[in-house]
Symmetry: C2
């Protein structure tokens, strides 16, 4: 039964796991978009706000993290700023840089957003500690490959 993994032609088990991962990805995304929508945020706005709730970041850095062009960040921050969730601050060290930062209200929304994510939390509650440890290690290994 212990057939060696064939890289060129994935075996049935690998294909099944790939499909399961696809299902998890779909569920996670739906859940995220739904949680964002409950706060009248788009997915991009929610992701950017979540980043800023940890620490203020230059526009350039936000573009790198969101994997989009810096010009797009301008608009997303504009809309969040218009709602009072984010503000632009000067960077004392470099006057070219603008630091985007979550306001108090923005941090509150980001926290509610995180707490509103049901999937990837509720399902995990059905697993034992040992199983969660096992899952953690497997996911870690996948991400470092």
């Amino acid at each position: 039964m212990a057939t060696a993994p064939n890289i060129r032609r994935p075996d049935a088990l690998t294909l099944e796991v790939v499909e399961l991962i696809g299902d998890v990805v779909a569920r996670f995304y739906e859940d995220y978009e739904e949680a964002a929508g409950e706060h009248a945020l788009t997915g991009a706005q929610a992701r950017l706000l979540s980043m800023l709730s940890l620490e203020p970041l230059p526009m350039r850095k936000l573009a790198q993290k969101l994997k989009c062009e810096p010009s797009n960040v301008t608009g997303i921050v504009d809309r969040l700023e218009a709602r009072g969730l984010v503000e632009r601050r000067p960077d004392p060290a470099d006057r070219r840089v603008k630091l985007a930062a979550a306001t108090e209200e923005g941090s509150r929304v980001a926290r509610e957003l995180r707490d509103g994510l049901r999937f990837a939390r509720e399902p995990l509650a059905g697993l034992t500690d040992e199983e969660r440890l096992s899952l953690r290690d497997l996911l870690r290994r996948m991400l470092t490959t």
Copy 2:
């Protein structure tokens, strides 16, 4: 007791696993968008085309599967049809319905797209059969919770 009734606060391990799942989701999405881009397809176009590569579907059904409004499907199918990857066919049973179907070329592109997905396949090659079985069971349980 003055304690609030059973508010679940995820432990550190659960939070770590949630974050790891988020990382996997991000990696999977990047990989999918990249694979789509290599065929000059957007993510939505690639997802729709992949669905049609299995079987022709009514526009309405596509909207349900993509979780978007039917009016959006019109445009996505329009663009795929303009490139000869998809075609609209009448439904003999109901003249209101239009069946979207992948052309031969469309099926070929969908196949290449699927084969081009590196993540969720290469990382799995680094796991043993036993580990993949374990991962499969854990993911299954998460999805049925």
